[in-house]
């Protein structure tokens, strides 16, 4: 914690078989556990809204890969920080990425085709 507030804020909402987890802030070694706990406390398929994720590094990326290995996962409206990291890690095709506002969150086309 610091004067600027929590480094990562996480909220969850159930929508049918989907859980939409919205994160904002910084996802790093000190905060991945918060996201992981939110996923572990959810049921069904997981959509993570990453529009307001200001920062993410390899710790966050590993956690997203871990989640993907256990659950159906869609990354929704990833921020520039997320898109850049996926490119740097050469993992742009590793995730299903969507722009939709509701289940199944894909929008008209998967964003991964444009990464």
């Amino acid at each position: 914690m610091n004067a600027a507030g929590p480094p990562l804020e996480v909220s969850s909402a159930q929508d049918g078989r989907w859980t939409l987890i919205t994160v904002s802030g910084d996802l790093d070694i000190s905060t991945v556990v918060t996201l992981f706990d939110a996923v572990n406390n959810s049921n069904g398929d997981v959509a993570i809204d990453l529009a307001d994720l200001r920062f993410v590094d390899s710790s966050g990326l590993s956690t997203l890969l871990e989640i993907r290995s256990e659950r159906t996962l869609i990354l929704v409206t990833p921020s520039n920080a997320v898109i850049k990291l996926l490119k740097l890690a050469q993992l742009s095709d590793a995730f299903t990425v969507g722009r939709g506002v509701g289940p199944p969150y894909l929008g008209h086309q998967a964003l991964s085709s444009t990464l």
Partner: protein, 134 residues
């Protein structure tokens, strides 16, 4: 290393909070520069790598220089008596231990940097990278 490099630096206790603290420092140094995001990511990866691998490093110093090249250094200060890596506060059992995590972190450093590496400086081990100006 070029002697003309002018560094600013901050020292941190090695914990899971060190990467975030170092990013704030780098963000302030690079406030007006386009390379800020890359510098933040690089320092975060370098310190996280120390957290995963160092066995006797209670403190790290982050050194940043903007000219003539953008250079980041993470200096590992060894303790006099080696001790196990400090378990980071906030770490829980659900933290996914992935052996490939570290390699991915340095791969990201490699992708960001025009050059990077390690060097000995007295008793210290220095991880450094240089980021191309945009």
């Amino acid at each position: 290393m070029n002697a003309a490099q002018n560094f600013v630096e901050q020292t941190y206790q090695l914990s899971n909070r060190a990467p975030g603290a170092a990013r704030r420092f780098v963000r302030s140094v690079f406030a007006q520069r386009a390379e800020r995001g890359a510098a933040e990511l690089a320092v975060s990866e370098l310190i996280t790598n120390v957290i995963h691998h160092a066995t006797s490093t209670p403190r790290v110093t982050v050194r940043v220089s903007q000219a003539p090249v953008i250079r980041l250094e993470v200096v590992q200060h060894p303790s006099e008596t080696p001790h196990p890596a400090t378990p980071a506060p906030g770490t829980s059992r659900s933290w996914p231990q992935r052996t490939e995590l570290t390699g991915r972190g340095l791969g990201i450093v490699d992708a960001i940097s025009q050059d990077w590496g390690y060097e000995r400086r007295g008793n210290d081990l220095v991880a450094w990278c240089e980021i191309p100006a945009t």
